[in-house]
């Protein structure tokens, strides 16, 4: 009966739990948005473990070149390239995007806007299935003959197109296939998010009553949709170059490798904001709740986010300053790139200003959210060096770049992900996590994180290039070796502390105290239903209505310091 969850079927079937004793297949076939969110979440986490293991292997090689890495063996240069390539691809496309956008987007949007599901549940399911398939394909690409693709996640041709150059024809084709499949999955998911937010809001919920995280995920989905198209076309061309032997990117045959770079970064830069904005949204929700504060300037923040999104389409060529584009274009892109620092600075200022006058409780989710702001600022300011064309001549493709974008992506994907997970864990599973374990895990992750990437900033300033599997050939960089070791040791410490996270999750699931409906005394609609919410989210005749904005904390007219959105005035 549970199979009848499709929207065209009778209403009574939908009351059945979609997962039950019918086994894994039934679970995969569920159309419930919460189930699909969990699927995305746990697939993303599993992929994060894969990506983390890769980081461990190639950092070991970076620090102790040529030694056998425990659990892997001696790293060859081909394996090294495949590891860094797939670490990057997996962490962005199979960890950051599914966790931040797909998992929390799926989980939160219907709950926060008071709907019983996404507007296209079956499309949602198809989106996850395509995503799962793409994850399997990328994993398969690592073990096929010739090894995984090793042309970096940017996959610049002609290295990525000619088997004679990259020596991994099968790995390269599977890689581009997996990425294209993943794009299609997120296009379907994105259409669903956008239409759900536009159309399925609870009665009374006006545009400015929508919780910020929903806005952010939807803005991100729109950015993704409008930027990924050219790259899908580009991926088709790249695939044809590989598989059929066309010459779209082959200079000897009338093609142009620069074209791919443009197609890639036209998507690649907005992509940064595609993952950034949901993380910002998550952090805003958490800060508002634990500072018991109304957001400082809801509209201001929303417009800033939109402005960031629009500007993000105008900056892509700053990744290509020295990649052979006309140097005159670099001037234009320097200006636009530095312009984008204005809305980003504004976003940070507004987040900080929200703390003013609050009553801040440092719970585990709040610690994650605050550390996001602190760490992301480092990522933000170091971006200026790279956006300014003059200094990018020196910093391009050094470890400085690497450290910079890890200071943006790590706060976004890992800190943002943990913040969201710890904050909504009570809602998702109905039990609380352990605060002490959570804090041990927090400090054990964030402190080593800084010790990984601050040394790498310095090696970058010292001239270390990225993607070099062994510095033995560069005697001029030999004095930086201790810093590389330091970064690797910090990584090992950080990976070790993840045990506390899994311990905490298992403890929370089995022994955690019951959470109740609203453990954080928060305003938004997801806290007005049971934890975990039943199928359909609310009983049919108790669907919520909305009377006010989501951040009415500490309202002077009320004794309680919070005022849920659905309480009649």
């Amino acid at each position: 009966m549970a199979q009848a969850a499709a929207p065209t079927h009778g209403p009574e079937d939908r009351a059945h739990a979609p997962h039950g004793p019918q086994g894994l297949l039934k679970y995969l076939w569920s159309t419930d948005h919460k189930v699909i969110a969990m699927q995305y979440l746990f697939t993303g986490m599993a992929m994060a473990l894969v990506g983390g293991f890769m980081a461990y292997v190639f950092r070991m090689q970076g620090a102790f070149p040529g030694r056998s890495v425990p659990g892997f063996g001696v790293v060859t240069s081909g394996q090294y390239n495949a590891l860094i390539t797939n670490h990057g691809s997996i962490m962005i496309f199979w960890v950051a995007m599914p966790i931040l956008i797909a998992a929390f987007g799926n989980y939160l949007i219907p709950l926060m806007i008071g709907a019983d599901d996404m507007v296209f549940p079956r499309l949602n399911r198809l989106s996850y299935q395509l995503f799962l398939l793409s994850a399997l394909v990328i994993l398969a690409s690592l073990v096929v003959e010739g090894g995984g693709f090793g042309g970096a996640w940017t996959a610049y041709p002609p290295l990525s197109t000619h088997p004679a150059y990259n020596l991994t024809p099968l790995g390269a084709s599977l890689w581009i296939g997996a990425v294209a499949l993943e794009f299609v999955a997120f296009l379907l998911g994105g259409i669903n998010f956008i239409t759900t937010l536009m159309n399925a809001r609870a009665p009374g919920m006006k545009a400015y009553d929508i919780p910020m995280v929903c806005w952010m995920i939807v803005i991100a989905s729109i950015l993704f949709m409008l930027s990924v198209g050219p790259l899908i076309a580009g991926a088709v061309m790249l695939f044809l170059d590989q598989a059929v032997g066309t010459g779209f990117y082959d200079p000897a045959r009338g093609g142009d490798p620069i074209l791919w770079q443009h197609l890639f970064w036209f998507f690649g830069h907005p992509e940064v904001y595609v993952v950034l904005l949901p993380a910002v949204g998550i952090v805003l929700e958490i800060i508002a709740t634990f500072a018991r504060k109304k957001l400082f300037g809801y509209k201001l923040m929303l417009y800033t986010a939109v402005a960031t999104g629009v500007l993000s389409f105008f900056v892509w060529a700053h990744h290509q300053f020295i990649a052979g584009i006309d140097p005159r274009m670099a001037n234009i892109f320097t200006v636009t790139t530095l312009l984008i620092s204005v809305p980003i600075a504004e976003l940070i200022f507004v987040m900080i200003a929200t703390l003013y006058g609050g009553s801040i409780t440092l719970t585990t989710p709040m610690l994650w959210a605050l550390s996001f702001i602190a760490e992301f600022m480092i990522g933000g300011v170091t971006g200026i060096y790279l956006g300014a064309s003059g200094s990018d001549i020196y910093f391009h493709d050094t470890y400085f770049v690497l450290a910079h974008f890890h200071y943006t992506f790590f706060p976004i994907a890992i800190i943002g992900g943990f913040a969201a997970f710890t904050y909504w864990f009570p809602k998702m599973f109905g039990r609380m996590m352990n605060d002490r374990l959570g804090k041990i895990h927090f400090w054990g992750t964030v402190i080593p994180f800084n010790f990984i990437f601050i040394p790498l900033f310095i090696t970058g300033i010292g001239g270390d290039q990225r993607r070099v599997f062994n510095y033995a050939s560069f005697p001029g960089q030999a004095h930086l070796a201790p810093l590389r070791v330091m970064a690797t040791v910090a990584l090992l410490v950080m990976l070790a502390f993840q045990i506390f996270f899994f311990w905490n999750v298992i403890w929370g699931l089995r022994k955690g105290p019951k959470a109740g409906k609203n453990p954080w005394r928060s305003n938004t609609l997801e806290w007005t239903t049971d934890s975990p919410p039943p199928h359909g989210n609310w009983p049919v005749d108790e669907m919520p209505k909305v009377y006010r904005g989501p951040y009415e904390y500490g309202h002077p007219d009320r004794d309680d310091d919070y005022w849920p959105q659905n309480l009649p005035a």
Partner: protein
């Protein structure tokens, strides 16, 4: 379902057909700018008619128009910013030699049958290959091979440390036992995998022709120690 208006579709259809006839007839006038107008100007008009009336965009809410307009605007942006690099073949301090050469070839030989398979023999990758002033096998070895196989063929080049299986040791007599020239040439030109050895040995056939590979092999043989 919302009420949407229905114009006289038959009229629009006939206008579209008339426009189609004009756009096909345009090139027969033989004037370039007229062709451009009849081809692309009319395409825009036709598309507009279809989108406005058949797709009912005329009666749709404003937000939909904004959506479509912004995707079109983004494509215009993309074109404007990329064209200086891809459409142009030279710029400040750079020249796209390969594209210029291709254009010149194509214009010099318009009878090249519009790119029929095999009609135009394209040169190998990189039309700007160094002038091959006599092939120097020793230089080629130190350039290409020594990074893994070692300067003296000891299999101990800087790249060897990370490789598994290890690169061949040319100095080791055991390597030469039972090897034929044909097999070694194949390995040089088609890569190690072609002869069932390490796949990390790349194929150099795009860089060295048969004769050059032979010269290279002759040099490599001098590295063998008795």
């Amino acid at each position: 379902m919302t009420e949407s208006r229905h114009p006289d579709y038959r009229k629009i259809y006939f206008v579209l057909l008339a426009l189609l006839v004009i756009s096909v007839a345009g090139p027969f006038v033989g004037i370039r700018w007229i062709t451009l107008i009849t081809a692309f100007g009319i395409a825009v008009v036709k598309a507009r008619l279809v989108v406005q009336n058949f797709m009912h965009l005329k009666w749709e809410k404003r937000i939909v128009k904004w959506m479509l307009a912004s995707s079109l605007a983004l494509m215009a942006l993309f074109f404007t910013a990329v064209a200086p690099d891809v459409m142009k073949h030279s710029g400040r301090n750079w020249v796209n030699d390969a594209a210029l050469a291709a254009t010149q070839r194509g214009i010099a030989a318009p009878g090249a049958e519009g790119g029929r398979e095999g009609a135009a023999a394209e040169p190998a990758a990189g039309a700007v290959v160094v002038a091959a002033a006599g092939f120097d096998a020793r230089a080629a070895f130190s350039t290409i091979c020594a990074s893994c196989h070692g300067a003296a063929g000891g299999g101990d080049g800087p790249g060897a440390s990370g490789l598994s299986p290890k690169p061949a040791k040319f100095s080791d007599p055991a390597f030469w036992a039972g090897k034929t020239d044909a097999e070694l040439l194949k390995a040089i030109r088609e890569g190690g995998a072609a002869v069932g050895r390490s796949a990390t040995m790349p194929a150099w056939g795009s860089l060295y022709d048969e004769a050059q590979a032979r010269a290279l092999l002759a040099f490599v043989k001098t590295l063998a120690r008795p």
